[in-house]
């Protein structure tokens, strides 16, 4: 089959690889009908997250049709079922899964010893996302083996196009969880850094959860225009001061809730000197992340407020203003998304026409063009926001 394979920094190729096989009774194999490139894939494209090996298949936003099931799938799935695959692989049985903390499932990371060393505890296995999370082949491919398939799936009905359902795999529940973690009340201003696909979903989620005002921050006019379309007030951080504008928009008090949809690769700009320093330190491996957005959020957030961080950080961040964080009494909530905790509700909202996540798609291309699309998405060329690949 064809698959997008990581060969090194900025080197993803469309290779021919052997087809996946059932390895365990709980496995299923799907024929992929649609998959997407995620902002998280860009961290791997840049080799900023350790633990990739040449030959790894990329991709964790995937859906398709079940073509084979192992003997242990126990009737939960059958051939012909249409499923979206959550990016977090879950067993459904461990303590964490029982609590709905799916992204920290204790069972599914088959290379636990690595994650135990690096993070203190292992987290769930993830598709196409380094050997720290199991080194599972990803779904930017024609076929995908889904381990623990009896639990790791979201069944979706016929009659709704792939484009509306695909993002249940990751970015829609990610934006949703980011907003839910903010405990939004109707008087809240929610400020959202980053208007990439995750930011766009967080904006819609904050609206659906009843925020009074949503403020979206980015530097790309096309993404800001998409944020405005959903009723957000926008700030272009290349032209205006984020701190001043946020104060203005909140009567000097600062937003109650702040969401970081940017993560470890914050934009580097001479007018933001801390980003230059972070970038330099990153190069000589003195720091792994560029936490400009975290610093800004802690500084501007209203005392007693909540900071929600879906943006991915990989290792060590310097100069976090812990003094401000502690004295202002802020709360921070983070995490890879517990996808299956939210998807029943979100699927129902899609079915009822409350939201149509396909608004974010700007490019749909054959899988073979994947390698070019990584560059287009990374460079924000052609007003690209979200790429869907068709195997």
């Amino acid at each position: 089959m064809k698959a997008l394979v990581w060969h090194g920094k900025e080197d993803i190729r469309c290779d021919t690889v052997s087809d996946p096989e059932i390895q365990d009774p709980r496995d299923a194999i799907i024929k992929v009908t649609s998959c997407a490139i995620c902002g998280s894939d860009l961290h791997l494209f840049h080799n900023f997250i350790p633990g990739m090996m040449p030959g790894d298949i990329m991709g964790h936003e995937t859906m398709g049709e079940v073509v084979e099931v192992g003997s242990g799938v126990d009737g939960k799935l059958k051939k012909g079922d249409r499923i979206v695959v959550p990016f977090t692989i879950i067993c459904g049985e461990c303590d964490q899964c029982k609590r709905g903390n799916f992204s920290v499932c204790e069972t599914t990371n088959r290379k636990k010893y690595l994650a135990d060393k690096v993070f203190g505890h292992s987290t769930a296995g993830l598709f196409g996302y380094t050997h720290l999370t199991g080194g599972y082949p990803g779904g930017q491919a024609e076929y995908l083996r889904v381990p623990f398939a009896d639990a790791t799936h979201i069944k979706v009905p016929a009659g709704i196009p792939d484009e509306q359902l695909l993002f249940l795999s990751d970015i829609f529940p990610t934006g949703w969880q980011a907003a839910v973690q903010c405990d939004i009340v109707p008087t809240d201003t929610v400020a959202i850094w980053g208007c990439g696909p995750v930011g766009q979903m967080a904006i819609r989620s904050a609206i659906l959860l009843g925020a009074n005002q949503v403020i979206a921050i980015d530097c790309l006019p096309e993404r800001l225009s998409m944020a405005e379309a959903a009723g957000a007030t926008t700030i272009n951080f290349e032209n205006e001061s984020v701190l001043e504008r946020l104060k203005e928009l909140t009567d000097g008090k600062g937003p109650e809730k702040c969401i970081d949809c940017v993560g470890m690769e914050s934009h580097v700009m001479a007018s933001l000197p801390d980003t230059l320093l972070d970038r330099a330190k990153q190069m000589v491996m003195l720091e792994s992340d560029r936490p400009h957005v975290l610093r800004e959020m802690i500084y501007v957030c209203r005392p007693g407020g909540i900071i929600s961080v879906p943006g991915v950080y990989s290792g060590f961040s310097d100069k976090l203003p812990m003094g401000a964080f502690m004295n202002k009494g802020l709360t921070m909530r983070t995490g890879q998304t517990h996808v299956n905790r939210w998807t029943d509700d979100l699927l129902r909202r899609i079915e009822q026409g409350e939201i149509d996540p396909s608004f974010v798609i700007t490019h749909t291309v054959p899988l073979e063009q994947g390698p070019e699309m990584y560059q287009v998405f990374r460079d924000k060329r052609d007003s690209c926001v979200k790429v869907v690949l068709k195997p």
Binding site: R13, L208, E354
Partner: protein, 181 residues
Amino acid sequence: MFHFSNITRSKGDPKIVEGGSSLKQPSDQLARALGWFSIGLGIVEFFAPRRVTETLGMEGHETMVRAFGVREILAGVMSLSVDKNAGLWARVGGDGLDAAALLSGLTPDNPKKGNIALALLMVGGIAVLDYRAAQDTKPQRPGPNARRKLYPNRSGFPKGLQAAKDRAKEMIQHATAGVTS
């Protein structure tokens, strides 16, 4: 065909059968080569500045050579990173500094004039490569004045923004009334 990466695959996981083409350009390879060269030269300059000054008949300038070594290493690391373009421009600038320093040593009474002339030639050659690689790896990110598509109609709410807000209000009222919807 043999693919080295297949050795590390877990049993049963897909293995590469036939490699597809890479989008890496010759200029990327050149940037890589220059990056490693820069680091190598930097290490020599930093750890053995005396060898360098002796070869050039410029004894007494070891501190400067050391500093140049640090510069070479940093520019090299940058040329190997995703910001290779900045690294290569830093190298072009560094080539200028190298040439200036060498010229300052090209005095009539320097017995190693010949070596300096050779070194200048080399710096010139490398500078041409650095410049070419820097030109060819220009970042592809559109500038602030690039033409862009805007997406003012993509609210994502099929029933409109107001309906989404009303629905949110409804949900909150239900929740506060202790009713589950």
